[in-house]
Amino acid sequence: MSEINHEAPQPKRRGFIKTLVAGSVTAGGAAAGLLGDVDPVDGSFGMRQAQAQANAGPVKMAFIEWQPHTVPAAWSKGIEDVLKSQAGVQYKLLDGQNKVEVQVSLMDTLINEGTSVIFLQPIDSVALAPSINKAKRAGIPVITLNIDATAPHAAHVEMSHYYGAMDIARVMGEKMGGKGDVAILNAPPGIVIRDQRTKGFVDGMKKHHPSIKVVADQVADWSRKKAQDVLATILAAKPGLAGVYGVNDSMALGAVDVAKEKGLLGKMVIFGNDGERDALESIEKAELTGTQYTDVFQQGRFAAASATVLASGQVPATAFKKQAHLLMPYVIVTKENVAQIQPSQRW
């Protein structure tokens, strides 16, 4: 099975939209390509779909999120956009309440309910694996978003955490003139994407700008307010800081707040990660220097598109020998190209 891997380059020449369209086509084609290697004749899932059609009951799909937040909300919207155009599909959004036990219990309920496809943002990669296996045994494909699980499943759609972070490092280094000290405002420990985004950044710096040093890596809890406090403390110890990388936009914006307050805006290069609306606006105002933007709505739509294909009954979930892995196309957004992101794409 092919791994869909969006190739590195920045869309310098090509329009942004074109990139995304190209990306979608590739992804869609790749989804179709999913069917290539697979043995389509295992009975169970097909039977379920046939049953559903025979009963003329609605096809049920559900998304179990980590907890309410802008990112999963945007995913859900994207999923709904695709699904509502299809007749006979019921979709609901469930809150994992930030507890693994709740997600596991919800998985059990959905499996019992006869859901056809489950979207999942696992709180923990290992803890949800048994539930995913259980779903597989029941013939239900599971599509994970952003956070992978250790049990192989139908598809995983994620923001390009690692490669994106590498690119952030590259662009950020260029803005910094290739030298200087950099601080990282990080997520709480124990979350897989934190490691991916941090490692990508560090590797990227080593590869593109070896003279730039990471002098601090502190936890700021994904929070803007906490980031303000943490950065202020770091600055007290290292006043000559030339760059700050916030592992998500909220923390980066917190860094911007502190820089504004201390009059350091022109002197510090600040990058975030995610591409939230607030971050884009901040870039336009020349406060935040840049971020990695992923069209999260699009991410939801991709997931839903894959789901529809899987639910068509042509491909039994149990037949997957290797998991589909979709890396979302992204753009490293700076002042130069922020205008290309349309309002309808801002989340």
Partner: protein, 340 residues
């Protein structure tokens, strides 16, 4: 409502709610769902039983969620870092959990801290300790390694009672989770402890009138420390079952479980005034919560409404016991005037 009737109110209400959902919620009355209910709430019930001991003593244990996390992370560390066999990990984890509970007891007895304060402090301390010793922090690759030790994984078995009883041709029985069996064993054990041993009598005495118990020569300190140790140990058992189900442990495991356990205990008739309660009450309380939450999810009710309803049930349970107490007081007053 006399005392007899009030004891049957909760089982009755549970049966009623269960029947309601069987009729109105799609797929509720299926063997798969019953399995989910048992597997999903057995560990909650175990923690609720543990929690009822401090509450019986007019105290509270806010740290049980943290002890669950602590026990879970110790399980992970011992299995994946030190590669202990499951047979050794299980007792070790129980010892750790018991000690964590005992610390609460010691703080309350020797430092004379209020239970609320003492367990709030240990809550914070244990949560911090969990991050400090977590194998997933020290060795990041462990956060993607499942625990595969056969003894631990075996805690998540399901027994096929359908075939065992030979009825699987006629009716599909739910697989019986081992966690549920363990719950039942603990339930029976603790209920016997409460009703048929001197220790049980002493517990009720200390909770009902601490000074009277002390003056009667009961070793109130020992009773208190033991009660909190029991609470901690139950958290440890629940942690092991949870880790088996998840094949891993997270640092945030059991977050907020203390409130669920307290709710289940209060719904189950354990009085916050101390001196009143059973072991089976909290178990029924926990499963009532489970039935309601699963049933509402199957009915398609949003999770916000679910939380509101859970609060309403808790309120109803408390009001019911207050009403009974008030009626009792009035009757005693009237008898007093009549006789005096």
């Amino acid at each position: 409502m006399n005392r007899r009737a009030s004891t049957y109110a909760l089982p009755f209400f549970l049966a009623l709610t269960f029947a309601f959902f069987c009729v109105f919620a799609p797929r509720f009355a299926t063997s798969a769902n019953l399995e989910n209910l048992m597997a999903g709430y057995a560990f909650v019930a175990i923690v609720a039983i543990g929690q009822s001991f401090p509450i019986l003593l007019k105290g509270i244990d806010l740290s049980i969620g943290a002890i669950v996390a602590l026990a879970g992370i110790v399980t992970l560390d011992l299995s994946l870092i030190f590669h202990w066999p499951g047979l050794a990990v299980i007792p070790a984890v129980l010892v750790v959990a018991a000690l964590a509970g005992a610390v609460n007891g010691l703080l309350i007895v020797y430092l004379r801290l209020q239970p609320f304060i003492a367990t709030l402090a240990t809550l914070a301390a244990y949560r911090g300790l969990v991050f400090l010793i977590s194998g997933r922090q020290l060795f990041p690759e462990l956060s993607t390694t499942p625990i595969t030790d056969p003894w631990i994984v075996a805690l998540d078995t399901y027994f096929d009672i359908g075939s065992a009883l030979g009825v699987s041709d006629f009716i599909q029985l739910p697989g019986l989770p081992l966690s549920f069996v363990i719950l039942v064993v603990l339930l029976i054990g603790f209920q016997v402890l409460l009703l048929a041993t001197r220790f049980g009598r002493d517990l009720y005495a200390v909770g009902g009138n601490h000074e009277a118990a002390r003056l009667a020569g009961i070793r109130t300190r020992r009773v208190t420390i033991l009660a909190y140790t029991i609470s901690g140990t139950c958290a440890g058992v629940a942690a092991l079952l949870l880790v088996a189900r998840l094949t891993t442990s997270t640092e945030a495991l059991g977050n907020g479980m203390e409130l669920t356990a307290i709710s289940a205990a209060v719904i189950g008739g354990v009085s916050l005034q101390g001196g009143v309660g059973t072991a089976w009450g909290p178990v029924l309380g926990a499963f009532l919560l489970g039935v309601v939450l699963i049933g509402l999810t199957l009915l398609g009710v949003t999770q916000f409404v679910q939380q509101i309803l859970t609060g309403a049930i808790l309120l109803a349970a408390v009001c019911q016991s207050r009403l009974i107490a008030a009626r009792q007081q009035r009757r005693t007053d009237a008898a007093l005037v009549a006789g005096g």
